[in-house]
Structure formats: structure tokens, C-alpha cells
């Protein structure tokens, strides 16, 4: 975890990489919602941190005054970006997550049909077999690291399968994505290195599919057109980069957070183990309570909101996790209620950039948790101090030592 100087005043000097915030951000959000509700910091090149549901709903719609061209929570500085041949060749965009109108809609429409509820359902048997195989690997030991031995592999191997790349290389893909997002967010050299590896990998793959099309996602993307023009090679590489990066540690975090919750809340664990009908609402509640993803927008035109002013060049963090704990919208917001009936959570974001892979993520969570509970209904955390959390852009547990009766 990144070491950061202590925070004295969260309203003017917040730090989303602060160790206590990464472990449990809820008290900070509650304090900020009362006091600001939009905090500011000069750390990490400066940014704004809204905390209310209403603000998040409003800000996603301020397009393009709040632009998506750089949605990372920490921007690389211009000096860091210089003289990178990979950047020169491929650019730094990952459409459609980095797109604004008018390019955004046609770019997004290329990938949306690949991830509708009906389109992701055929991947369910793959995910189910995968979960069983993973559990077979450790169930006899009566112990495992639920984040590293189970949760991480489910989205990594599934998205590799969906994109049509060798799922045997998924450990490598996880390393790249962690290098880019988890470790790279506060370490530009690392970020640039892994960005290069990912782009080069997909660059070569796109060329191979161009030469010899197959029945796979990349070949299908290459066969499409926008306004009668084939899609630029650079854009296809960017889309593949997005699918890999957005598809791994987000869902890994959600599955791990849910398992962490049930390992530390035995009443909820017993309830879910005995009431299978609760899975759909319980999964939405886990998504609400432990929303993993914070996105960012870059200000392109002066915006006055409440008693603060966003200036061009400022960064605004779309704090979806905090919005999902807003007591003005969610009854008993800081309590997990497995059968919560009113749950308009925005864990997948909101507005025109709503997570395109949300149905795939939901299917993976459903499979991961149902099969886990079917085979290991009783489990507990062995050592709370050994649990580590990643935070920043994507928050979730990275080590979860569990034991369970054999």
C-alpha cells in the first residue's frame, strides 16, 4: 500500500490512498457529507471529492464540461508522458470510457451488444466450471486465500475467454492490470510500463486477427464500421485494453468484498446460506455497500456548484461508493440489509458511461457466490490483520485468509 502523509483535515486535504480511508472510507464520507459536501485536496495534482448521491447524479450529466478524456483518479503529468514510443503509436485512450460526445455513442454501441444480459448468459457454464475447479484445488485443505486462490481468477479467466485470448495467461493479465491501476496509480513509471505491455500485446493480436480473422471478439470489432469507415486499429487496441483492464480488478474486488463481508458477519452468512432466494438482492446490496470503483472527470468549463467552483483543468472524482452510502437516499445506509427492497445504487456508475460490462460482472458475482456457498457454506477469516485492501480507483480486499470445516 502507498505510504501517504497523515491527513488532518479531510475537507481540504483528503487522500484516497490514505491507509485508514482505503480500509474503511465510510466515516470520512459521513464527515464530509455533513461538513462540505465536496472536499478538495492539493495531493496527487489536486482534485475534488463529492460525497452525495445527488451530486454524482448531476455531475455525470455535465458533459462535456466534465470530460471523460482522462478518467483515472491520478493523471500522469506531461513530463512523464514524454518520449514514450508506445504512447506515440497507440495513444492513451481506451474508448468508449475515455470518449466524450460525439464520438462516444458510436464507440459505445460497438461493445454494448456484446454485454447484454442475453449475450453474457452463454459464458455462465464457463464461469461455473471455473469456480468448481478453483474450489476443488483447495477445499481439501480446509483453508485458502479467498482473494488470491478464488476471486481473482473468476473475472480474469472469464474476460480472457470473452475477448478470445489464452485464459492460461490470466495470471500475467492480472499482473499487468495491477501494475497499471493498483500499483501504477501512484507510480507513473510502473503505469507507463504496464500500459505499454498491454497495448503492445493487443496491437500484435489485432494485427494477427486482421490478417487471419477468427470467430472472436477482436475479429468482430475489426469487421464493424462507424459512419461507413472501418474502426481505426488504434481504437480497437484501446477497446481491448479497456475490456481487459476494466474487467479484472473491479469484479475481483466485488467478489472479494462480498466474501470478506460474509466471513466477518456470520449472521448474514448463515442467512444467505439458508435462503437461496436472497442472492439477487444480496448481490445488489454487496455492490452498494462495497462499491469498488471511483472514476474521474476533467473540468473543461467553469462550473459553479454549491459553494465551490470547478475550474478548467481541475479533476473531479466521481465517488460512486460514497453516493451509495448517502442517508438521504438509502435507509439505514451504513447497514448491510440483504433483502433491501429499494436500492437505486450506482456502483456501475450512472449516465452515458454506465459500466458496459455490468451484466457480465453481475453474472460472475452470482456464479462465484452461489457456488462458494453451495460448497463452502461455513467459513471464517483466520487473521483479520492479514487482510490487505487495494484502494484508489478500485477498492477491494487483495488477501483473505479463510478456514472452513473439511
Amino acid at each position: 500500500m502507498t505510504k501517504t502523509p497523515p491527513v488532518d483535515d479531510w475537507t481540504t486535504d483528503f487522500d484516497i490512498f490514505d491507509e485508514s480511508y482505503v480500509k474503511d472510507p465510510v466515516p470520512v464520507w459521513n464527515e464530509l457529507r455533513e461538513k462540505c459536501p465536496i472536499a478538495h485536496t492539493d495531493r496527487w495534482d489536486g482534485s475534488w471529492l463529492p460525497t452525495s448521491y445527488e451530486d454524482m447524479q448531476a455531475f455525470v450529466r455535465m458533459v462535456p464540461a466534465l470530460s471523460s478524456r482522462d478518467p483515472l483518479v491520478v493523471s500522469a503529468s506531461r513530463e512523464e508522458e514524454e518520449f514514450d514510443p508506445i504512447l506515440d503509436e497507440y495513444g492513451n485512450s481506451a474508448p468508449p470510457i475515455t470518449s466524450d460526445p460525439p464520438d462516444h455513442i458510436p464507440m459505445r454501441r460497438l461493445i454494448l451488444p456484446l454485454f447484454t444480459p442475453r449475450a453474457v448468459e452463454p459464458y455462465r457454464p464457463f464461469a461455473e466450471q471455473l469456480c468448481h475447479d478453483l474450489i476443488d484445488g483447495f477445499i481439501g485443505r480446509g483453508a485458502c486465500d479467498a482473494a488470491m486462490d478464488y476471486a481473482v481468477h473468476i473475472p480474469a479467466k472469464t474476460i480472457a475467454h470473452v475477448i478470445g485470448v489464452d485464459s492460461g495467461r490470466s495470471d500475467e493479465f492480472v499482473g499487468w492490470v495491477r501494475g497499471l491501476l493498483e500499483e501504477g496509480m501512484t507510480d507513473p513509471a510502473k503505469r507507463i510500463k504496464y500500459r505499454g505491455i498491454i497495448r503492445q500485446f493487443f496491437g500484435e493480436l489485432v494485427d494477427a486477427r486482421k490478417a487471419n480473422p477468427r470467430d472472436d471478439l477482436i475479429s468482430r470489432l475489426l469487421a464493424q464500421e462507424i459512419n461507413g469507415q472501418p474502426i481505426a486499429r488504434k481504437a480497437v487496441v484501446g477497446i481491448c485494453n479497456l475490456l481487459l483492464v476494466a474487467g479484472i480488478d473491479t469484479t475481483w474486488s466485488s467478489i472479494s468484498s462480498a466474501l470478506w463481508h460474509f466471513s466477518t458477519h456470520p449472521e448474514d452468512r448463515r442467512r444467505l446460506a439458508n435462503e437461496a432466494d436472497l442472492f439477487p438482492s444480496a448481490i445488489e446490496e454487496m455492490l452498494r455497500f462495497y462499491s469498488p470503483v471511483t472514476m474521474a472527470r476533467e473540468v473543461t468549463a467553469e462550473i459553479h456548484t454549491g459553494d465551490v467552483t470547478f475550474m478548467p483543468g481541475d479533476k473531479v472524482l466521481l465517488n460512486f461508493p460514497a453516493a451509495n452510502h448517502d442517508p438521504n437516499v438509502f435507509e439505514d445506509a451504513d447497514t448491510v440489509i440483504l433483502d433491501r427492497a429499494r436500492n437505486r445504487h450506482i456502483a456501475f456508475g450512472i449516465g452515458s458511461h454506465r459500466c458496459a460490462g455490468s451484466n457480465l460482472a453481475r453474472m460472475e458475482m452470482d456464479v462465484a457466490l452461489r457456488i462458494w456457498f453451495e460448497r463452502i457454506p461455513e467459513f471464517e477469516l483466520t487473521d483479520p490483520d492479514a487482510v490487505t485492501w487495494a484502494g484508489g480507483q478500485v477498492r477491494g480486499p487483495r488477501h483473505l485468509p479463510f478456514r472452513f470445516p473439511v
Partner: protein, 72 residues
């Protein structure tokens, strides 16, 4: 009871379709539509309510039936 989806507001979270597949469908871009002109049979009213109250885009509305309206 009748419901309708405001296509302008719908951004394709597909929560309605997951919660009440008997009442909603989604197209290739995730945009939802209410099935059967939005008619909700009495036994599915609870599911319709769930769909309305879980839509993050506030895109699903109840439609007052005109006959019902006149009766009041």
C-alpha cells in the same frame, strides 16, 4: 397497474429486466422496454414495484390508466 420506461432516461443498468423479466426486456444497447404495453398483472405488482424502486436512472414510471382515472 401499468408501467412505462422513459427511453430518454434509461442508460441500460438492466436492473428491471433482472428483477422482473416477465415485465421488461432490453435491446442490444441495454435500453429497456415494458412488455405487453406495460400492463402488470395483479400477481406481478410487487415485482413491478421492485423494478421501479431499483432503477438508478429513475426511468420507470407508473402509468395511470385513463379508465381508472375517470372512475375516481
Amino acid at each position: 397497474m401499468r408501467v412505462k420506461v422513459n427511453a430518454e432516461k434509461c442508460e441500460g443498468h438492466n436492473r428491471c429486466c433482472a428483477l422482473a423479466p416477465e415485465l421488461f426486456d432490453v435491446d442490444d444497447y441495454g435500453t429497456a422496454t415494458a412488455l405487453n404495453d406495460g400492463d402488470v398483472p395483479a400477481e406481478l405488482e410487487a415485482k413491478a414495484k421492485l423494478a421501479v424502486e431499483n432503477c438508478p436512472e429513475f426511468a420507470i414510471e407508473y402509468v395511470r390508466d385513463s379508465a381508472e382515472e375517470q372512475a375516481k
